[in-house]
Symmetry: C2
Subunit: 273 residues, 2 copies
């Protein structure tokens, strides 16, 4: 018998909502858990299979599993509820009070949350992604006039993942400008950035962390030396402060937190919600 | 007075969980809504400002706003609850029953859900992103032996956004192989893919949609002609079927749905949850 509880995330589509909500709740508990996502449970037959899988875990482990469900269809849900588990039903919990509040019945539509929506929204995300890829670190293209934000920082501070996250998640056009060794040794803001002062956002990082990242890429190079990392970080941050460029230290921060902080502090408008 | 209700998503960190919850629920209602996210509300002062903003909307519109909150800290939450709004408190609703079920008190930790976690998980996402970028459409690198999945399709079927989404969201190493005109005219699977049959996944698309996407990029080219699009799609799907490569038609499907379908059907293991 295992002491580890099992958690199931069940959805009639991607499972992203069920996982996001379940993960958020479970971060509040200091317990070890096995996690299983069952997406695309959209008919009674699949619900039946899910119930069998859950009941099997209950029997094998001797513990009732915990189920987080965002299933919308009543017949599928009624079936799922018969499993031997503690069942948290996100829709059931909030939909009834929302119906009262909004004064209209819910439409019971499946999979809208992470579904396609209209082609226009899909196209915006793809355009933003292509923009980020074309205006990335050292790329030939510098369409900064079209950018919502230009992320500035020395090599390996997280500019690319943040730009791509902003693009795919929010349809925001993020270019990024790598501070080169020349930039770092010059005084003043690189000339190419002058016209775009208002949309610059800086990323910095702890020199020790930067060294460890660079060491992975180019072991024992000058690029990865602690002296070089300290110099670049110090000069980069000096540049941000002198030019009043808002910046954050990405050392202990996730991609999501950097992205949402930039949106928040720069007052960026999302094209996709 | 506006007839449009306003919805606030309030969080002590990124707001991603609050938005996910709220968006999912609100897709169930056919009503027009103004949406406002208030992230980083992590002290009483910021809570007070949020309350003022909510109450102002209530006064101006004559409607009580709807608030979705994932705030964890009790004093901040107690403050927020005083606003003139219908207040949906995500943690309050689910944490108490979870405490009973798990037999331990919640830790009341802020911002774990989309926080950094350990460096290892951050590094996996970045490595997977770099892998996707280096093994993208026509790239020189083809480290297919290291890939979890190799996405195959003609130009503009969504291979790149799906690869990047799999990387950033789940830490999955996704390479992608563009079916060229030569591949399409040949019979049989391109030679370079032979050793990796077991990890191929195909993307197809409606020829009319493909034409419209290509037309944006290269107007009135042969590449964007309906004849060419029809030919490529037909031959591509033929290749998938002959070689028993699982594939999906991405025409009306979101990036999230394609990514989660590939994970589900190919049984991929996520490195990040």
């Amino acid at each position: 018998m295992s002491e580890i509880r099992t958690v199931f995330f069940i959805s009639d589509r991607t499972g992203i909502t069920a996982e996001t909500l379940g993960h958020s709740l479970l971060t509040q508990f200091d317990v070890e858990l096995d996690q299983v996502t069952l997406p695309f449970v959209d008919d009674v037959q699949r619900a039946q299979k899910a119930v069998e899988q859950i009941n099997q875990v209950a029997t094998e482990t001797g513990f009732r599993p915990i189920v987080f469900s965002t299933v919308v269809k009543s017949d599928v849900r009624d079936h799922l509820r018969q499993c031997h588990a503690t069942f948290f039903d996100f829709f059931d919990t909030f939909v009834a009070p929302l119906e009262r509040e909004l004064g209209v019945p819910s439409t019971h539509t499946i999979g809208q949350a992470h579904g396609r929506g209209d082609d226009r929204l899909y196209d915006v995300r793809i355009d933003a992604m292509n923009f980020a890829l074309n205006n990335d670190d050292g790329g030939a293209t510098r369409q900064y006039h079209k950018a919502d934000v230009v992320i500035v920082g020395v090599s390996r501070t997280g500019k690319t993942p943040v730009s791509l996250y902003l693009a795919l998640q929010y349809g925001i056009f993020a270019a990024n400008y790598p501070l080169t060794e020349d930039d770092i040794l010059e005084t003043g803001l690189p000339k190419v950035l002058h016209p775009y002062r208002g949309k610059l956002y800086g990323l910095s990082i702890a020199p020790e962390r930067l060294q460890s990242i660079r060491q992975e890429r180019r072991p024992n190079s000058r690029y990865a030396s602690i002296q070089q990392c300290q110099l670049e970080v110090m000069r980069g941050e000096g540049l941000f402060r002198q030019n009043r460029i808002p910046y954050l230290n990405s050392t202990t921060v996730s991609i999501e937190e950097i992205a949402t902080t930039i949106i928040h502090e720069s007052g960026l408008k999302r094209r996709v919600h």
